[in-house]
Every structure is written in structure tokens, then in C-alpha cells.
Symmetry: C2
Subunit: 553 residues, 2 copies
């Protein structure tokens, strides 16, 4: 048994490595850690979501033992509604994580078919040959876990997303003593979060934000409108606490914020003093300086409550001078422009806006370099593989590990789809899965053919020109009349009319020179493309997509 | 005369306010400050450039006296090739600025038709009723200016893009004494750079970067590859100095970097000790630890030398382990993903990459809050209008000014196209120009109809479906055969075939129910759209653009 090797595979085709899903395999058992989704990159036009490619798992169905979840963020649970219908496995997570998974599954009507098992820090459970002990870690959502996984050849520690916060809002710090104890017993492999491997020093405690919020609320002359991620339950707790301290009432707007506040209060993860959390309808009973509004929209989402407010497009709330808006979040990469536009519009409406650059109204949920070193130092793993981050973050994390004395040959910087094989003595990347991206676009899920994405990109650049050529049914060498041309996204109707008209004449002339041979579609297609591409480029320096069809008349 | 009012107009339809162009008007004279371009925002699909809308100026041709340029960056000079053919005005700028303008105009073959006049700090000149005295300011390009403009009702100061650097690389600090003297004499209006109004404290001196570069070069085991903006001539000077100090040779790759180094050396803005700057062909004569490579690609531009190197696609340079790459620039907003991808790929090739988050290898060219306060304090203007920045930056700059005691009624937060009118006593925003964006897309320049952009956006999301309906020439109520359907960017050829085939049948059935009335195009169009939109959405949750054409056969 022990001569068999342990396989570690970060799944997914792009993005942060091992973030959305990892597989750990030994002999006849595979466990899956997390099942999250990614939002599409800029060039994935029209794609809604990207989820990990699970073909490796589908080919090994009989080995699969379960999915263990580190925490309830979208990038760790969001793919479950798409994956569970294919792999009906039990899902293990803490109470809050399961609450969030249930909301997701309900939306996809898969709630009743899923098997959700609640786990707790310190309570071991077995999946096949693996013995798993969850431990608490601090992250930007309560009830986050790391895992210590006993395998037949040694212990693997997976950090989850973590930071080291000695004064967390939920009172559950990262379990350093447990990690030290595991380190003393000997750890084969550490898989650790690299998201903030770029940042020197320590990430500040979440309570720093509470202090900043308190100061701003105390000094605000009127209403305070606060937006954050709805999953940031500790942040919501701090908003409630700061409001209560300064005798303000909290009103919640935005569907996802209301849902989360409701669920987290029910499960006991949010605690409000009596009468602080109020129904929105009561807001008119309170003077402006007694009001805190908690809202969605921290990412500048166009349909969110805050963006509607910024655009004077919300029927319930209008900005009035004296309002203070706090953006208690960082823009997720790609959302910067939306967030900046929202801030600009709030200023235009007369609000004073406070965001991360102006005051410490947000802290990260991931450890900085000194925290990563502390973890490495406590766990003292034989092998180390940085995960959760782009390639540069993993490289920098690997450098840190090397500087702490882990030999370079025992450090593995993986890519998604890489297969790392370990025995007790050494490790090696033995292969790479042909892991494409699995795109979710509308109802279709799968390998969205790259030709579709390429076409969408072409279309978005200079539009499309459609040419319809009518061929004489009897004399197939003859075209009837002038070809029709319609275009979209290429030229202005007015300015472009002449160009399109000239194009029709050119196509006609080009096809008339066929020399009496029957006009075949491939010939027509090539001629039309040649003629028009050249002409349009000369006239406009644009290269629209040209689509030709022939009809017999 | 003095009862007339002074008009201040930031021109341009979007982006930073007053950044690309401003107009100052009094009685029969208008002067223009800067003529720059913007790169398109994310949703301006296919647009190459955006330039200010000059219709206000075109309607007042007889008043125009000249264009004065603060410095040679694209966003201050880049629109000249598009604007000079419409407004043939003399252009005033420093020697280096004129050098950069000449390069631009040469590309557009307008060099010989333009009138370029060289100006110097401290040397006054007149344009109509305006007496202009340029003064030196520090920015991320040498030879940058601010302007003191005497008007019949008082002095206007325009800061240009500036920071306060007591140890600038080119030895020309911002002229604080001059500003203090102007302030003592009395300033009517200050127009000042707000780009970094968000940042507390002082922006570090450019020499800080030189020290960081020196340390990295001293410790690098092999080659050092440095990328920066090619306009950042002080940075290039510091690279040369640091290389010389550590006995390394400098080799330049990338066309725009070579052009700038050549031009700036000719004009005396770059100084290299003998034999430090070398022709690339000689690189093989030097050991790795004697080499510094200076390259383009700091913004991850896909065709730049550095990006090709990162992709193993450059015939001259390959990354080898031991290489150190320094990204001596910040990503311009919108370029973050490209820059990050480049860094990831360089790490993949085995280089060690050092970027802004890891060491102080870049500093900004704009003043932070304490510098802005210093300027306000020296100039003591009666009126203040923050410029150069998004609305939030201007709002924050206005707040700073208020905190220094300028009355709120004397502070004007403008938008592009706003007309600010001032007399000696008071000011007011009296109107807003209907300033649309002027898009440059290929050869076409003008108000790129929003319908084109909307179409490109629609096309990029779910592609297009083209439907060709054949109508019987004799019986116009009858359609011939099944309609043809072609699509691009909508569904996969294979998976989509059934859907498209079913679509044809549905269209046929829908049109057959016309009830014997002649089929008009508008009827066909509406029917086809209704039928297919609904069907495709049900089947795929996608909403392709649907384009219908009818032919008679």
C-alpha cells in the first residue's frame, strides 16, 4: 500500500491555481476540496461563469469519496449546482457554509437531491483511506476551515483561504497551537494560500475596520450608507455594533444583503441588540443622523441598490447633501471601472464617499508574507506546494519557503491541471491534464468552442457585413440583380450608405467576371470576402466580419 | 473691457476633467491648453482613440490664438495630428515637448504644415489679450510646464501635471519661489492637477527609484531586464546611471524605446557615459552580469518586446534562469490584466520579477495631498477649480481647498464641457456644451454613432443569427422553401445544428400563418424576431442579435 503514490491535482483551466477545486488521490480513494466558480475574463465574451473541468474525476467515479469545503465563498462553492448533478457526492462543510450552499442549490432546485454533512473544527471523519481533521482559520467569512488530512504515507495540510487574526470578530482565531502540534508530529506536504504573498508584513485585523467605521459614523452629520460583500458577515456584524454604539438604527437594502442577514441571524452568526436592525419601511421615523443603511453594490454591479442610488434610479433612496457613503470592500480585479464610476456618481449627487484609499474601511482576508512564514515555520512540512493565487503569487510564496530553508527540490509550483505525485521521499510533477475551461453560457455548459469566442471578439471589434447573392436558378453562372448588403456595428447608417452601395457594385462586378462557369458557393464566398475586405479596409481602416450567403432565384 | 467675463472650459466628453484640453476665453481671444487623446474605455468596442470635441472652437475660429502645451505625454499632445488639420494654429511647447510632437506629426505627415514654437520657463509671450509666463514643474517627463496667464481681469495659474520633487533627476524642481511671488501679487484663479488627491502625504522623489534600481542591479546574479514607459526619460537616465555605476552595459530593444532614447540623447535630455549605451548586436560580447536590457512592454502591450520575451516569441532574447526583470511602471487603469499575465509568464520562464508591489521601482508623477496643499498655500487664489482627475479626485481636491480656508462658493468642481464664467468678484457655471465623444475608429473620426457601439456590444455578447427568407415573386403571400439561417458567435456548429434547424421550421410555420396577405418586410422582420428570440432563449438562455433579410425568388 505505502509504495503507492499520493496525487495532488489542482483542477480548473485558468485563474488562480487550485482555488476553485483540488483533488487528492491515493490508491482507490479520491477526495475533492472545494467546488467553486470563476467569473469570466475580459476576452470570454458572453460567458456567464467558468467552472473546473471535472473529466479526470468523471473517469474515476468509483474512487470518489466526497467533497470537503473550506468556506462559503462563491469561488469555493459556486460550482456545486453544476457539478453535483454529474457527481452525486456528499458535501462536507461547517454550518454557515452549508447554509450558503443550500441557498445556491435552492436556486438550481437541487437542494433535496444533495447530501450535505455538517462538520466541525477538531472533529475527525474518514473518507476512504483519508482521515480528515478540520481546523479553524480566519478569513473574511466566519466558519472557515483548513484541513489536516492523514494519508497512508503522511499528513497533508491544506490551509484554505486564511489570515492570522488575533482579534477576529467571531472570536475564532486560526488554530496556531493545532498547527504547531501537527508540525511537531511531522507533516508530509503543506498546501498554503498564496493570495497575498506579494505583501510584506502582516494583514491588519478585521477589528481595525470596526474602529474606522466607528469613527466615521460618530462624525457623520447625516445618514451613513455602507456597502460591502454580502458574504462578509464579520463586516456586517461590525456595522451593526458601530451603529448600536452610536445610537443609530440599521436598515438593509438589496436582495442578497437581506437574504444573508436573514440567514446568518437565523443560524446565530449575526447578533444585533434589540431594535437596532429595523425594517426598511420604518426608516422615515428616524432623523438622518440616526440612520445607517447597509446595501449591496460594493462591486459597482449595475443592478445593485447602491448603483441605482448613485444613478438617481432607486425609488426608495435618494442621495442628499450630508450623506456619507462608505465603500467597505476592494474592487475585485476587473471591477475597478464600475466601482470608480459609482464613486464618481455618488460624489456628483453630493455625498461624501469614503473608500479604501481614504481610510481603512476594508482589510484583506488573506495572510501577508510574515503570516505565510509563520505558517511554514509552525508546520515545517517536508514538501511544500503554494496554492490559491496567480503564478506570480505562487512563485513568490515558493521563494519565501526557500528563504526559510525548505530545499528547492521539495517545493512545487503547480499549474492548474498539473499532477503532483509524492511518496515519502520525493515528489514530481508527472503530467498535465488536458484541462480546458468549462464555460457556462446560458444553459449550455461545456467546452464553449473557441471559435465562438473568437467570432464574438471579431464581431465586437468592427461589426459584421452580411452579403446576400442571388443566383439565377436556370443559368447558374449568372447573378440576379445587385447583391444585398446589410451591416451591424460596422459603419454609421448615414456615412456608411455610400460605402455599402459601392460594395454592392464591386461584388456584382467581381462575380460577373466568373467567365460563364456555374457560381459555386465557395467561389462566391472567396470572391466576396476578398473584394469587400480590401475595399472596406481602404475606405475605413476597419475589418468587419463578412458573411456571405447565396440564394437561387 | 474689464466688464467682460473670463471663460474657462474643460473640453472632451469623458474621462479626466480638463486633462486632454482646456480653453480659456476672454473677449476676442481664446487660447487652448493641451491637445491630448484618451484610450477608449472597455465598452467602446473597436474604437482606437478618443479625442476632445472641438466644435465650440470651430465655431469661434477667428478668436483662436494658439495651443500651449504643458508636456509631451500622449494625453496632452496625442490629438494634435487630428486637430491641427482642422485648426491650423501655432503650437507652443518646450524643446523636448516639440521633439515628441514632431515624431507624432511625422507619422501623420503633418510635420511640415505645422507651426511649432519653442518656449522656455521664465520667458513671457503674448497671445491676443493673454500674457503667458511658463514655469517649470516636475512631472514624469522632463521639460514640463505650468502656466501663469495674465488676463485683463487677473492672473490664472494652470499647474499642468505636477509633483513637488526637491531632488528631480533633471535638476529642474517645480518653481515654488515663482509661485509664491505670483501668490503675493494676487491670483484670480488656480487650476490644479488632482490626479493623486486621494493620497495622503507626499509623493516620493524620482531619485528613490534610482536607489532601488541600484540595489537590485548590484545584487542581480545575471542579466537585468528593465521596462518602463518610453516617455519616462528621467527613469531611463537613472537606469543608465545605475548600470554605469555597477559596470554594466545598457542595450535597448523595442522600437519606441529606441526612438525615444535616440531623440532624447540628440536633444541633450539623456546623458550616458562613454561606452555604456551599446548597440544590441554587441550583447554577446558581454557576460550576463554585465548586461542591462532596457525594453518596451511596461503595459503588457501584446506586440511589445517584453511580452514577446515572456511568451518565448522574441527571436533575440530568451529568458534564462538568473534573469531579473524589473517592471518600473504602474499599469494604467485597464491594463492590469495584461501586465499581470506578462509577469506570470516571465516567472514561468524562470525569471525573478520585481514590480511595484515588491519594491519601490516606480513613483508617481503627480503630487499627493500635502503637495496640493502647499501649492494652494503659496498661490492663495481667489477662485479655485481642481482639474486633471476623475470627478472623485476633483471632489476630494475641492475638500482640501475648503479645509485651507477657500470659501466653498469660490470653488468650482467642473465636468468636461462645463463653461465656468468669472469676473473679479464671482464665478458661475453658466452652461454645458453638448460635448459628445469624438471617436477615432480607423479612418473615420467623429461622433461614432452610439448605435454602432451598442450593436458591437450586442454582437459580442451572444453573437448574431442571420435569417434569409425567400418570397415568391408572383405570390407575395407565399414563402419559398424553408428560410436559411446562418449564425456566428452564437452556438457551436455541432451542438447548435439542431437548434438552428428547428428555428428554420418555426420561422417557416410562423410566416405560413400570414393568412394570404402579401408578406411585407416589417411583418416578416417582427415575426422572425419574435419567434426566434423566444425559442433561442428557451433553448440556450442566450439572446443573439437577429438580422432578417427577404429576397424575392
Amino acid at each position: 500500500m505505502s509504495r503507492q503514490k499520493l496525487r495532488i491535482i489542482p483542477l480548473g483551466g485558468l485563474g488562480e491555481i487550485g482555488k476553485n477545486m483540488m483533488a487528492i488521490e491515493f490508491a482507490n480513494d479520491i477526495i475533492i476540496i472545494d467546488a467553486g466558480l470563476m467569473f469570466p475574463e475580459e476576452d470570454m465574451l458572453g460567458v456567464d461563469l467558468v467552472i473546473p473541468d471535472i473529466s479526470y474525476l468523471l473517469e474515476r467515479r468509483e474512487k470518489l469519496r466526497g467533497i470537503i469545503i473550506t468556506h462559503g465563498h462563491e469561488d469555493h462553492i459556486g460550482a456545486l449546482p453544476y457539478i453535483l448533478p454529474q457527481l452525486n457526492l456528499p458535501v462536507y462543510g461547517t454550518k454557515l457554509t452549508q447554509g450558503l450552499i443550500s441557498i445556491k442549490l435552492k436556486e438550481h432546485r437541487w437542494e433535496k437531491k444533495a447530501t450535505l454533512r455538517t462538520i466541525q473544527p477538531g472533529v475527525k471523519f474518514s473518507l476512504g483511506n483519508f482521515k480528515i481533521e478540520p481546523f479553524s482559520v480566519c478569513h473574511s467569512i466566519p466558519d472557515s476551515l483548513g484541513f489536516s488530512i492523514d494519508t497512508p504515507i503522511g499528513t497533508v495540510i491544506h490551509s484554505g483561504d486564511f489570515k492570522i487574526d488575533y482579534t477576529p470578530v467571531d472570536g475564532k482565531p486560526t488554530e496556531l497551537a493545532k498547527l504547531a502540534q501537527l508540525g511537531t508530529q511531522g507533516v508530509l506536504l503543506l498546501l498554503a494560500d498564496s493570495t497575498y504573498a506579494e505583501l510584506p508584513g502582516y494583514t491588519p485585523s478585521e477589528t481595525v475596520v470596526g474602529e474606522a467605521l466607528g469613527r466615521i459614523i460618530a462624525e457623520a452629520p447625516g445618514r451613513v450608507i455602507i456597502t460591502t460583500f454580502s458574504s462578509l458577515i464579520s463586516r456586517i456584524q461590525q456595522v451593526i455594533d458601530a451603529a448600536a454604539k452610536h445610537n443609530r438604527q440599521v436598515f438593509v437594502i438589496g436582495r442578497s444583503m437581506r437574504d444573508t442577514v436573514h440567514m446568518a441571524s437565523e443560524l446565530g452568526y449575526l447578533k444585533a441588540p434589540p431594535d437596532v436592525l429595523r425594517r426598511f419601511e420604518e426608516i422615515h421615523r428616524f432623523p438622518y443622523d440616526k440612520v445607517v443603511l447597509l446595501t449591496t453594490g460594493s462591486q459597482g454591479e449595475p443592478t445593485s441598490a447602491l448603483v441605482r442610488i448613485a444613478n438617481r434610479d432607486n425609488s426608495q433612496v435618494r442621495i442628499i447633501p450630508g450623506d456619507t457613503v462608505i465603500m467597505s470592500a476592494t474592487p475585485v480585479p476587473g471591477n475597478e471601472a464600475l466601482v470608480n464610476r459609482t464613486i464618481d456618481n455618488l460624489f456628483r449627487q453630493g455625498a461624501h464617499v469614503i473608500y479604501e484609499k481614504l481610510a481603512q474601511v476594508h482589510v484583506h482576508g488573506h495572510g501577508s508574507q510574515e503570516e505565510l512564514k509563520l505558517l511554514l515555520n509552525l508546520v515545517k512540512p517536508k514538501f511544500f506546494a503554494p496554492i490559491h493565487g496567480e503564478y506570480r503569487h505562487l512563485s513568490l510564496h515558493a521563494r519565501l519557503a526557500k528563504s526559510l530553508g525548505i530545499p528547492e527540490t521539495n517545493i512545487f509550483v503547480l499549474e492548474n491541471g498539473n499532477i503532483l505525485e509524492l511518496d515519502r521521499e520525493k515528489g514530481k510533477i508527472v503530467g498535465r491534464l488536458p484541462a480546458g475551461n468549462v464555460y457556462v453560457d446560458g444553459l449550455v455548459m461545456g467546452d464553449l468552442a473557441s471559435v465562438i469566442l473568437r467570432d464574438r471578439k471579431l464581431l465586437s471589434r468592427d461589426g459584421i457585413v452580411v452579403v446576400i447573392v442571388a443566383i439565377d436558378k436556370k443559368d447558374k453562372a449568372r447573378i440576379v440583380g445587385r447583391p444585398d448588403i446589410v451591416s451591424r456595428g460596422f459603419v454609421d447608417m448615414k456615412e456608411g450608405e455610400t460605402i455599402l452601395e459601392q460594395g454592392r457594385d464591386l461584388v456584382k462586378a467581381a462575380l460577373d467576371r466568373s467567365g460563364g462557369r456555374p457560381l459555386e458557393w465557395s467561389f462566391i464566398n472567396a470572391k466576396v470576402k476578398d473584394t469587400l475586405s480590401k475595399f472596406f479596409y481602404e475606405q475605413t481602416r476597419r475589418r468587419p466580419m463578412i458573411l456571405t450567403t447565396a440564394v437561387e432565384v
